[in-house]
Symmetry: C2
Subunit: 132 residues, 2 copies
Amino acid sequence: MPPKPKKSHPARKRTLRGRFSAPSAEPRLRIICETVGPGKAQLLELLSETCSISESARRMSMSYPRAWALVETLNRTFSRPLVESATGGSRGGGSRLTVTGKLVLQLYHRIHAHSLSATRSDLLKLHRLLKH
Amino acid sequence: MPPKPKKSHPARKRTLRGRFSAPSAEPRLRIICETVGPGKAQLLELLSETCSISESARRMSMSYPRAWALVETLNRTFSRPLVESATGGSRGGGSRLTVTGKLVLQLYHRIHAHSLSATRSDLLKLHRLLKH
């Protein structure tokens, strides 16, 4: 027997945010390698561009503590830190990718690109089965 | 300036459950094609085996309403239902994959397998950078 339908699903909306928006014109493939997914990859990308956690967080519409927690998680997950943060100084420090950080970001982009190109035909087949 | 560290992170634990466990011996790649990720793929797999949403939910340590909601989402996302549920009858109905459901599951498995084989060397590089 199906469970009684509920009028609203606040928990579901919160958990699966953004995933059930209208299908895009192109097939979408999200890749999570170990603990690095699209969110952390974008954060690393923005950090390499802005050298600022707060600016990167702002561009991702993410809170500063949340961005800081993601950076800390990345630094803890890998054997060497991916992001180095200088504290103090006249400009209040700054953050930059380490050599390992740049390598992880490069590997992530390559894994995503190679996955896409290796599975393009099946992704298109799946995409065509979606409700448009 | 880094935000003040908190003693506990209940929100983080809830959001990122399971992703920060100890690294496995093998590189891990999670794939989400459109809205189909490892969880929904496993649910479809179990449904094709058990023909029962409640039994599939039990094997995934998931609540029945949650499994039902995932099935409903899948059925809504694609132009044809992936799962057909019979109601009533002496055995209280049952659920089975439709032709589209079988095709989506097959495509998901193929996309995952081809992504893994196309990126194996980079995945291993990323894996070796993890803290072990």
